[in-house]
Each structure stands twice: as structure tokens, then as C-alpha cells.
Subunit: 442 residues, 2 copies
Amino acid sequence: MNTADLGLPVDVPSTALFTDQYELTMLQAALKAGTAERRSVFEAFTRRLPEGRRYGVVAGTGRVLDAVENFRFDAGVLDFLCERNIVDEPTLEWLGDYRFRGDIWGYPEGEVYFPGSPILRVEGSFAECVLLETVILSILNHDSAIAAAASRMSAAAGERGLIEMGARRTHELAAVASSRAAYIGGFNSTSDLAAGFRYGIPTVGTSAHAFTLLHDNERDAFTAQVDSLGRGTTLLVDTYDVTEAVRLAVEIAGPELGAVRIDSGDLLLVAHRVRQQLDELGAARTKIVVTSDLDEYAIASLAAAPVDAYGVGTQLVTGSGHPTCSMVYKLVARAESADPGAPLVPVAKKSLGAKSSMGGRKWAARRVDEDGVAEAEVIGTGEVPAELAGRQLQVELVKGGEVLGREPLDVVRDRHAAARASLPLSATQLSRGEAVIPTEYV
Amino acid sequence: MNTADLGLPVDVPSTALFTDQYELTMLQAALKAGTAERRSVFEAFTRRLPEGRRYGVVAGTGRVLDAVENFRFDAGVLDFLCERNIVDEPTLEWLGDYRFRGDIWGYPEGEVYFPGSPILRVEGSFAECVLLETVILSILNHDSAIAAAASRMSAAAGERGLIEMGARRTHELAAVASSRAAYIGGFNSTSDLAAGFRYGIPTVGTSAHAFTLLHDNERDAFTAQVDSLGRGTTLLVDTYDVTEAVRLAVEIAGPELGAVRIDSGDLLLVAHRVRQQLDELGAARTKIVVTSDLDEYAIASLAAAPVDAYGVGTQLVTGSGHPTCSMVYKLVARAESADPGAPLVPVAKKSLGAKSSMGGRKWAARRVDEDGVAEAEVIGTGEVPAELAGRQLQVELVKGGEVLGREPLDVVRDRHAAARASLPLSATQLSRGEAVIPTEYV
């Protein structure tokens, strides 16, 4: 298997162990029972949006495609499964030959979703589909959570710049996926070099308090930075006294100074003061970047402040209160027998609590009103009504094991902006509410 | 660089790009200014615990040591930095030769911590230390958040088993680190095969609803599972009707049935009923495993229920409300000049808000009362008082670039149990409160 062209800072020789043990033991039992080859349909969806959220954002699909392609059991992995007695010899043999040869349909990445939206549909034998559960959910649950937070923040920021700076607040590789999801959600750039390396996302950097403190005084620090990085650099002005630092910054860099960053204090107040001081010093084009535990509410509250860009960390990479989605991966239909021509039977758990779900392979379409504004998420298992045929949401992503659905990240990012723009206006209200359009089952 | 012996399911050729861009641009400016070689001391610490939490858990230290050792700029990385014009030629040359040659001291992994505890101290030239900021914080902030949640859950679970099942709810590699952190915090096993592979954590598995639904009826499914996996297996009994499923499970597997899993409904009520039914069927030794959005509060509320083990997912891997810690990495002292013999000067930001911190290289010790119960976290910059000399918390982890501090995960897990046991009893109360011991600065 060749993953070199994925260009990862971390090489992923195989994704096959990003798997819960029960998937392999279920496989073993089904192989022995002769049910493993029954044609099956699994769907990934959420039963609800995070509390108060009005829409979800599909993100991670591109990473899912990479993961499916690289889901192979090599010798080292098989040795581990054997030594630990996790599965028996026939199962190990089956796994050694494994590659996914089925079909995957799904919402294109960047689309919005609602409760019940069949975001991903995986079809093939039970055996080949059941193994993918954990890795698919890991990716979709993480990336969609971050993209949803990013989308709310970018709606709040309007035309102003958004810099993803959260790497230090989350797992080092979750950080790379977070940068990618943030970009989809509308962020402009990232501080994370691995995200620039892996996904080509524009990277930016300013300066830390440590740099100022390293030097004998702020003048030496600013001079060192401007000498090396040029007048277009961003100087951090809140290590000691902001007013003095801004004065010094313009004295050293001149009115061509790129930007100043403020990382503490009452940002609304300080931004106004700094803007006025910069203007008085003739640095009218010097920008103001603010950071410091921002979330979508803080961004919105700074709308009236003279801020040019927001750097967001913690709240972005933790999904702004919702660090995961509640996507599940459920068997919704399977063949009556292992016979390749056997008809599919819809199946569903009959649960004690609120966990029941609708059986059967689903289509999904978004109905719009006469102005083209989304009106309902329509989901069904039968024939697609003629008036919705052109509004279907699922696209073919994998066919017979071959990945068809790869696309550039900018296409995904643009799709999200368009999808969000097609929702009713209240979608981007920050206040808590219900899903902005209802889900209708037909 | 040889990382093969890390045994990762994902090979990490280099951790050098898990870095925010400003670390490299600060390096460039400091190299040009002649300040890059000033001897520097950075410390990682938190200003506060997550709201309501009574102690923190140090986790990730072992992963930090791996990351520091593998922090190298190879040709592919240097090409990227060059093409993107991120740093200049002299800086690229410097990076090509980079390896960390300084010293790291820190709290041993598994220890508890409090506001201000200097969890990690990194000493060396400014240049070599500043580069490590992001990767160190990513690891400590993530892993410590998960370990803290795990520790609360394991305190609530008492002697009962805890299974980590959260892989599907978080980034696929964050999941592996989460399993490791959960094990440190007191979990017994994981469903995540990658965590078993990488860290040797015991792995377990049960069965999913999909397996039951794949078969023509529950009888076929249970028979298939028991035939293949033996009577000691865990059968999932809530796909249709729990009472009927439990009857069927014991009919098929006999009283040697290992366990049943309940994943929905009122777990307290259902567990009581299932226990009674199992006992009446003669399956007195068959265990009950419960899952379904558990957190430490749900675990505690089930203390009176006949539950043998808890499977925990979402709330564990999202830190049970606190998915990240607020650890920062601050320059606290640096030499007056680049001269190797130059004395260290304590430094600290003079902040507008609450972000100020104490300058100077710190020691830390935990004072105990006459019964050996922790009484205060004592932190200072001067001489260590004689009565605390034997109670110092920091240990040597890296010396002159050589990693000294690696240890088996079971040692770390035992250390955490001992450290938690040495805190006042109220440490493990689940209700919100203040840090269970005060931090004193001397």
C-alpha cells in the first residue's frame, strides 16, 4: 500500500487498528455462522443536533476516503491480533486479504445536515462494512464538531479574518484535522504548520510574549522582529503597557507596520484605544488582531470594535461546547441470505429508550421554497418523489472500492458557504434554538 | 531518525511540524538579533483547574518525551518551509541540525497537580526550547484532560471494571492517546485495538446491535456468537426485548455465560431486573456490563445497582465537560546575554487581565500533615526549605537531550492511584468545589 502521496506529516501505514475490538469478533462469529457475506447497508447519521444548534456541518468525508483506502491488515497488525488471541485463524486469513470493495454514498463534504440526515451510506457485505464503523465515526464525529463551531464563528466574523490557533489545546493530530475542518467552516488561515504541510492551508504567525521577554526590553524585541521579518510583521503589544508598546511599534516599524496583536484585557475597549492611537500616529493601515479565549459570542460582541482579524484557539478545537457529534453507524438493511441476489430487508433496533432508528436504505433531499431557501430535509426509503429528484443530497464517493469523491479543500469550503447561505436567515443566529429546518420522513 | 521502535500504528517520522508558525519566525528573529542562544527556562503550568474540579492529573509526559526525541526537521519539512517562505536560509540551516540538547524536569506522569504546579520545566537555549511549545502543550493539554475525567470516573466506580469505549467519539489518534490517559486514570481496558497495539493496554469487545440485526432472529445471533467466541462472551441483550433476550442468552450459553450488556433504558432499573432474572436462571456468575452515555455522575448513581462493569465513551474522551486543560508554556527566566556563563534573570508578562504569572525557575513540593495527607502545594523560586527537601515533586526527564524518564504505563497508573489516595478525602467528591489543597508561593 502506498500512502506516500497523502503527504502526511505523519505517515499512516494502515488505519485498520482504529477499530473497536468487537468489530473483529463480530466478523469472526459471522464468518463461522455463514452470515458474513450477507449484503448490508450501514448509514451514519445523528439523531439530534447538539443542544441549541440550528444546523450541522458535514466534515471529514475526505479523510474518511483516505482511511477506507488505507484500511489494510499488514503482517505486523495480524501478528498482534494473533498473539493477543483476538480472532481465530480463519478470521486472520480473511483480514489479510481485506480491502473494501463496496460502495459509499454520502452528503458531499461541507454540506449542512440535520437530525436524521443520512450523511454516509456504506454498502457491501456485512463483513467488509462492519469493520469500518469506528474509523468512520471517529473522523466524522470529530471533524464535523469542529467545522460546526468554525461555521458559527465565521458567520459571526462576517468579512473579517479568522485565524485558527488551537493546536496547543488539542491532541497534536486532532489539531491538524481541526485546522482542516476550520478552513471548511470558513476560517482563512492556521498557525499549525502541519496543517499547512498536509492540506495546503495558508499559515500565519505573529509573536509570543516569550520573544519580548527574551530581550532586554521591548524596543530590542520589536527591533529584532522588524529587522528580521520586515515591517509587515505583526507585533504583540500587551507584554507590558499597551499604549507605550503601540507607540514604540510605530516608531520602529513606521506606518507600514502590518498589524498589532492584543492578547489580554477588555478587547473591545483596548481595540478602540489602539485604533485611535494607530490612526493618530499615521498608521491608519496597520491592522489589529485580537486573540484570548475567543468564541463565536465574543467575536460577535466585537463586531462594533475596530478589529481586523480574530485568532481563535481553545473554543474552536473543542467545538465551542460540543467537542463531538453524536453520529452513529447503523445497519439499516441486509440481505435475507448470503446469496448475491437475495433481496434486502430493512432492519432497526427496537429500543427501550430514545435510541430507535428508521430501517431501510434512505435517500435525502432538501426542499426549497420559491426563493430557493431551504424549507425541509426530506428523507425516505421508497421512490424519490419527482419534484425532489433534482434536489437529492447524496453523491457517489466510492464505487466497488474505488474512491471517486476526492476534491480540493477550497471546493468544500465554497460548498459550505453556499449551503449555509441557502438556509433560512435564522440559521446563523447565535442564540440557542431548534434545527432551522424540520426533518420530514416520507 | 528511527521511530520504528515506538511501535505506533501510525509512524511518526517527525513531530517538528506540530508547531505554530510563530515559533519558527521568533527563532529567525532571535538568530538574527543574537539572542537565540540565551539560556532560557520555560515552564508548563495551569493558572486554574477546570471549573469545579478539585485536582488535575498529569498525563502525556511519556508522549512528550517521544515527541521531543523525534522533533527533527528532515528534507521534506525543510523544503516545505523554504517553498512557503516561512523562514530564511540561515534559519533553515539551523533547523536542519536541530535536536533538543537541553534538560527537562517535571512532575512524574500520573501525579496530581494544582493551579500553578510547574508540571514541566524545559531548559536550554531560547532557540531550542521555544520550538517545543506547541507539541508539548498539545500533548499535556489533551492527555491530562482525559486522565482527569478518567480519574473521577474510576473513583466513582470503586472496585468495578471500567472499559474505555470512546474511540468513535474523538479523532482517531486522539482516541489512542485517550485510551492511554484513561488507563493512567484508573480504567482497566479499552475497546480500541490501536491502543492495545501501541501501549499494550488490555483490549475487550462485546457485540453491537448490527450483529443481532444481521441474523434472522436473536436466537441465531446469540448462537453464532457463542459458537464462535465461547460461553464466556458478552451478549448484547437490548436489541428487542431485554427479558426475552436474557432468557435466550442463558438458554444458549448456559450459566457459564460471561456477561450481558445493556446499552439503553433506565440502567438502574434494568440492571436490577436483569440481575434477578440471571440469578433465577442459575446464572449467578454472569456479569452485567452497562454502557450508554455514562459519565462519573451516572457511574456514581449506579453504585447501588448490580453492575459489574461500565463501558464509557463520549464523556471520557471529551474530558467530561472539560476537553482541554489550560496549560501554558511560559518563559520564566533567561540569561542576561548569550554568554554561556551569564546569570539567569526571572521574567514575567505584566498583563492587563488575569494572565500574569510568576517569574523565575520554580521548585515544587507537596506538604503533608502528620497522617501523610496532602496539605498544600508549595511552590518557590529560592532555596527549598529543609523540611520540604524530601517532598519535591519534579524529577529529571531529559538530560542534555537524552531521555531518562521513560517508564512502563503500569507504574504511571499505580502512581496516580497512590497520589490520589494521598489527597484529602474530599478530592474525589463529584460535586463542584475548589482545588482540594491550596497552592502556596514561598
